[in-house]
Symmetry: C2
Subunit: 784 residues, 2 copies
Amino acid sequence: MIHQDAYPVEEWALRETRLDLGLLAQAESLFALSNGHLGLRGNLDEGEPYGAPGTYLNSFHELRSLPYAEAGYGYPEDGQSIVNVTNGKLIRVLIDDEPFDVRYGDLHDHQRWLDLRTGVLYRSADWTSPSGARIRLRSRRIVSLTQRSIAAIRLEIEPVDANVQVVVQSELVANEDQPARSGDPRVAAQLQAPLVAEDAFVHDLRVTLLHATRRSGLRMAAAMDHEVDGPPGTTSRVEAGGDLGRVTVVAHLDPGERLRLTKYLAYGWSARRSPAAVRDQVEAALTAARSGGWKGLLAEQADALANFWDRADVQVDGDPELQQAVRFALFQVHCASTRAERRPVPAKGLTGTGYDGHCFWDTETFLLPVLTYTTPHAAADELRWRESCLPQARDRAANLGLRGAAFPWRTITGAECSAYWPGGTAAFHINADIADAVVRYIKATGDEEFARTTGLAILVETARLWSCLGHHDNDGAFRIDGVTGPDEYSAVADNNVFTNLMAQHNLRAAAATAERHGHAAAELGVTAAEIAAWWWAADTVLIPFDDELGVHPQAENFTRHDRLDFTTLPDDPYPLLLHVPYFDLYRKQVVKQADLVLAMHLRGHAFDPDQKRRNFDYYEELTVRDSSLSAATQAVLAAEVGHLDLALDYAAEAALMDLRDLGHNTRDGLHLASLAGTWLALVAGFGGLRDHGEHLAFAPRLPSGLRGLGFSLLYRGARLRVEIGPEAAAYTVLDEERGIELTHHGEVLYVGPKQTVTRQIPVIAEQPTPRQPPGRAPQRRTAR
Amino acid sequence: MIHQDAYPVEEWALRETRLDLGLLAQAESLFALSNGHLGLRGNLDEGEPYGAPGTYLNSFHELRSLPYAEAGYGYPEDGQSIVNVTNGKLIRVLIDDEPFDVRYGDLHDHQRWLDLRTGVLYRSADWTSPSGARIRLRSRRIVSLTQRSIAAIRLEIEPVDANVQVVVQSELVANEDQPARSGDPRVAAQLQAPLVAEDAFVHDLRVTLLHATRRSGLRMAAAMDHEVDGPPGTTSRVEAGGDLGRVTVVAHLDPGERLRLTKYLAYGWSARRSPAAVRDQVEAALTAARSGGWKGLLAEQADALANFWDRADVQVDGDPELQQAVRFALFQVHCASTRAERRPVPAKGLTGTGYDGHCFWDTETFLLPVLTYTTPHAAADELRWRESCLPQARDRAANLGLRGAAFPWRTITGAECSAYWPGGTAAFHINADIADAVVRYIKATGDEEFARTTGLAILVETARLWSCLGHHDNDGAFRIDGVTGPDEYSAVADNNVFTNLMAQHNLRAAAATAERHGHAAAELGVTAAEIAAWWWAADTVLIPFDDELGVHPQAENFTRHDRLDFTTLPDDPYPLLLHVPYFDLYRKQVVKQADLVLAMHLRGHAFDPDQKRRNFDYYEELTVRDSSLSAATQAVLAAEVGHLDLALDYAAEAALMDLRDLGHNTRDGLHLASLAGTWLALVAGFGGLRDHGEHLAFAPRLPSGLRGLGFSLLYRGARLRVEIGPEAAAYTVLDEERGIELTHHGEVLYVGPKQTVTRQIPVIAEQPTPRQPPGRAPQRRTAR
């Protein structure tokens, strides 16, 4: 846990006011910078101490054999792990021959802050060395959002009260030591010395190192160049070879004098290009970056972010902490994806090695709704990445004896890396989740060219999978047996409601899109009979219901299962997976994360309001939220069924997952889905945004803890601004030409160009708050 | 596959008439000798060529870490593997300095035969060396059934037509090379050089080697002593150290002269005793064996087997191959268990390293019925071994959050070694299977002292497990959700009928036995309330039934699942587990091995005759028999419901599993459960033996392919002889004092001491033969 005083609330920054070595690893994740291609953990400039050093290039990975004590047909042979690549952010500093190391000497003051408007990570330190030399050190660091290969650091050192000799070693270091692996299976496999040195190049103060991986056959280059600004007599030397590139600057500084080092970094990798080509690519990027210079990079960065905030900012009135959290969340979601460009956005972005750097369904189900309405090009790119993985997904399906495409549960390259099939391969819902993201993107953008190409290709192949995974029973019902839904504390069950409803949506979307783009569909071999089969399957899909209890069982028989006996467990038994075997979790009514409740969000039309209320309360008692994917969805549904204050509790839990380290694993990287979930909790929760009907739908309603909520959306090329107050909501179309048809609590409204329409919010009686499992009531946001 | 001509049919022997190097590994399993403590594969005396060398001591194992790519709570950390211990059967022979090796020179004649009445493995070879020296070599080998540490070999060599120099190296060799591991997960993990040499001792022609394992901390000794009988001038030398002990005999033989070497072997191991103690123990056994000498050992062996055959022989009239097979089966089952003495009987006995030498539920469900009625002391010993594992089973249950005892799915020492929980830990039925074996043993022997001690301890702890694994739902039904039944192509299902019926039996037996032995039960903490809960759970256990189809689903929803589409599979897709992923097998109506059908055998009273017929035919279409545990059970039920010829087909399949290598893995060791199943198919199938009612029940009925069937049983200390003809059956009690009450096709009969009672067999109309999955109709035994 991180207490609030570590990061005081600010509107537009995340500020750390003192250095707590116990929270170093968490801070490295929080202060990570990324653009979707390159990611730097927020390590101290001087490299040590660290929680985990981290420099990542999207999709640059190594393979490792997956061990099985008892193997089985169709088990993936190789796993993939994101590689900690050559560290270019390292700048060691010696003061009078003593290393600048915050663990020694006296640290009078240490601050770091991430400016969410400019995208710059600031640091300032006031330090006296063990031998008594006092300096001030300032650094600024960016990972460029406009030049995707580029990061840059500016470091300034000045003595406080006496002359000092300063030696600065600006380095590129490959194969850094990694901290020992934890016993927690979720922590990434460590790869010791994954990089093989291929070549090193030096020119002036520029160093380029080329490395390759052993098994995956990938090649990368890291290059650094420098501008040195110091008093007369300042000297620089350069050296490079193997795993080390180093520029050493020596300066003698009197009080009032300053040494300033500007370090430009460029990274690139390729699976195919020659060493020379990869080298040239990064050196070109470096030269381009230097031509604009430090100020140019900063200006571009601020412009890009201003543009982003202009279209995507969410204003929260009445809860400054939540205001800060949602901006931090939007910043990180944006930075993780904006330049990913047909590469995956991993569950932890490029902020740590958690989950081996793999991408899961989180991306489509939690990130892509946010991106679709704020940065649609990034949503499209992500889906184009999935499309590029279709050949592997088709192979996987064929290998499993299925038709169509079976997208991987976890992957970097598109190949399945899950070594535990009940929780991986069997979770076929990922295919419908991807299809759902396709449908949402098409609907929100009206991009029919995308629909005809990428969209149709994905929809058709996933629909084929479903029509093969399910079958019509003797009564004609379309059953999908023996699969795993979102709740990872259940597995291999029959007719999981979420899966069946999402598959229905997928089948219908494939059929409708294929009918709309008949020629393109025919090229994919789609026949009228196939389309008819999709419609039929969708129309007859089995949705189990427990008449006795009046609720939907998460899957067939679920509501007949025993409940977990918490009295036999330790006092704080969460996450349960560390105390209870899967076999027991699976057969009990205990839910790790929203599953049926997520179905009620994404496929809300399939439930009537009474069912939603009863279902929500029923599952609330069972859901332990051992996954960070849960709170946001619970917020959305809590708001819908009238538990508004509970919804705010959950929104805050999603929002503070990383800022307060609620899951105790922020050290391994940020929880991007939970960050995206913050937006969902606010916009889909209190804004009531739904996009599964004919119109973009809103049903705004604020909890007692908020005075106002404002957000913007991009919809079919127009910007829509929504301002919600306690009693009314205002919808403004900012576009000059286009209007938007939407619904407000079911009433259809047309909001014309540059027009604002205001509507009252119907009153809803706050419902009796349901109960959560022992010890799992969310922290209350407002007294009640 | 082994064709019939490799092993011609003989009544009392298994004979190999020529050496087929392609079948060497299979022959090593078939000619394996064991007494339950010590097992020797049927390797050639001279060691090479081999399929796999093998010398095993019951429970002498090494540990190895089980790897998990994705670990989980409660997964066992260590696996156990049976160790190929010091090879003492090795006797290398040089003829004029050329090694006797059947791959070189000319092998004019080579025969091996296992005499099932004397327990001696014979070999004779007529061979001309590459340089033209012709010899006759004869050997005999036994593993003593009366002196459990002892094996002995007598080797005789004589020249055929000219003087030869013969050098014989009789050896003890530790850490032999093993053949490369196959990719099949069922094949054992190879352990390279598992033994660490501790000491070596020499006295005259006696050598003793002491070794220990690295991780499991077990110590073993192997000792050999020799009698040499050759012409004058024959010399002997001895050497020993490290992994090698060797006695070298040199003789010059003229035609008509003979060198005869008698080698005595003794083996022992301990987890606790000192090196000296273990050494002394084997040397004492060796001295004892030598005191009776070779003839003494042979005479004891023949006596022991005569006694066995007298009480256990099964006579099959009309099918000589089946006659041979059932005797081979009984011989191997007897030898695997008679001296196991509170050690497990592994699935492959001590005949190979298949399944790592682990013991499964096969032992209780397939072997113990045979042992109970033929060698009851071995059945009791096996259950006492299970009792000795109760502490580990209690720990395992506690670790899994359960009460009572959870016996391991696979083990050597009693600790769970299954690394795949859906097919291991979740298969809780093993606990009821053990309880069922306890009940059967008590009923068949009337051994109330056993019931009060071992029996009660096992029944109580397993009943506690069931009462915790199941729960009463809102309607009061006792449900056991999320467990795996016998069919390994289904897993983690709700209310598996087999499991629920066996648990019911277990709960009732525990309750009844606790009531009968109130004082002993009280000492185990059993209360009246606990007993009442067991009765209640047993009386309300949920047995799903599909009213629409009129059959029992194997587990809830099973009959609603899709069927496997065989048209998409390769032509010979068996075993399916090599072509279809578990996820797909689990969710389809495809059955690896009798599950519901086994329930109808062991808990026959729970089904009416109509249900049995319909169920049998329904599951027959789904059952692919990819497990060797299936055919025997299908034989039993086929006979009961009137498919008598089909029953004979299945009886033959069970009987010939190893003799014809039907599963293509006899090389890894014999299928003891299938061998035991041969007896079950005949005695429970055509004899109709059932033991779950008040009386021992028979319902004899022969298939058209048999003219007669005779078998003996021990029941409550009396011998019962059953002779079945096409029209009548005769029951004879051979005891002088006790009579037996039994039923014949439902009619209660009392057969007094030394009395024979004959009854007609009611005619049953042969039913239309049901269908099997594509390509899985059993080989037809009789034309029809």
